[in-house]
Subunit: 213 residues, 2 copies
């Protein structure tokens, strides 16, 4: 398997965690999101992923984008370590929490949106930080509320699920943008517990070969 | 089943299509997203869905948000009409296309974002229209590119999938915001074909009891 990603991409980070949890070997190909006008927009990469975003997974004849689709694909192909509960209602709750992050928090704060805010709308750096903080706060508040009653070691009792994968990557991003996390004790507890696991450590942005220190 | 929604919510529209495709009877509860400061923010609804967004499904003891999680739940509980291909790689492609819409296009254009742009960032109506058009165009361009080689009657050959559900709701939204769709002939063809099916007709915003004509 070949994973096109970038060390600091939240969505690529999610996929790395899943691959490491399942102990699937993969080749990482770095797509630099900033240098040279953003390599994700170069012809070569746009032909692989017309969305011009990372991550993208190549597995034989399959070219697959969207981190949650990639993770589900991996989960179906390699059921050695389950990333969702088996029970239908529990699985649905895990999916909903993952989407609370992947469809509500992350899309509003990623690079292309921040670029549009500054370049097209001339939004100041201060107002851009407020934007990032606003959407993260709203999202984390809802998640804190949800997992206060479901969490054990992780978001849902004591098994790692896709919800934890999404949460850890999003909280990394929150720290990067200096979002105050003091109001979210359950989230912080879960993230700490995840970050003790080898798969989560291996997947960390700073542990990737394209990381800039 | 009880579905909290709103006639013009793109995400609620997706769930209605899925329920009608499976011929599952459900009770619709309207949450007016604009009146009274937005009923989704009222205490009663926030207790049901702390994200303060529609849709939200109640099924017995299950309270579930996020349209794609709800659709997958319905699909697992009522396998009478499949909404995904069985084959793992094909399923993954359907998921990726659904997420191209649900995680890339829709979150940037929904009501709360438009409200933030005008209220917090004093963005003009013209610049707000350009914002909506920008994200829809980027997203539709990638989708047109993808489905040009996979479509038959629908996004993937001749079976209706979740990708079609997401596409129809998103294109409804595009028309509402007067986005020029002439560059997307495959998308237009698929949407037209879907909109001939009874389930898609029943689910249309204008056919809901809370629709404002």
């Amino acid at each position: 398997m070949k994973l096109y990603g970038y060390w600091r991409s939240t969505a690529a980070y999610r996929v790395r965690i899943a691959l490491h949890l399942k102990e699937i070997p993969f080749e990482s190909v770095s797509v630099h999101l900033v240098n040279n006008g953003g390599e994700q927009h170069h012809e070569h990469y746009a032909a692989i992923n017309p969305n011009e975003l990372v991550p993208c997974l190549i597995d034989g004849d399959l070219t697959l984008n969207q981190s949650l689709a990639i993770i589900d694909y991996i989960d179906n192909q390699y059921p050695n370590v389950a990333l969702y509960p088996q029970e239908i209602k529990q699985k649905a709750q895990v999916q909903a929490l993952s989407l609370d992050i992947a469809s509500e928090i992350h899309p509003l704060n990623n690079l292309r949106v921040q670029q549009y805010l500054s370049q097209e709308l001339a939004v100041s750096d201060e107002a851009k930080s407020a934007w990032v903080e606003h959407w993260m706060n709203i999202g984390f508040k809802a998640i804190e509320n949800k997992i206060a009653s479901t969490s054990g070691l992780y978001c849902f009792a004591d098994e790692v699920t896709v919800a934890d994968i999404c949460l850890v990557a999003q909280v990394y991003n929150a720290h990067r943008f200096k979002v105050d996390m003091t109001d979210f004790p359950t989230i912080n507890k879960v993230v700490e517990n995840c970050n003790r696991l080898p798969a989560f450590i291996k997947a960390k942005p700073e542990n990737q070969s394209d990381a800039v220190k």
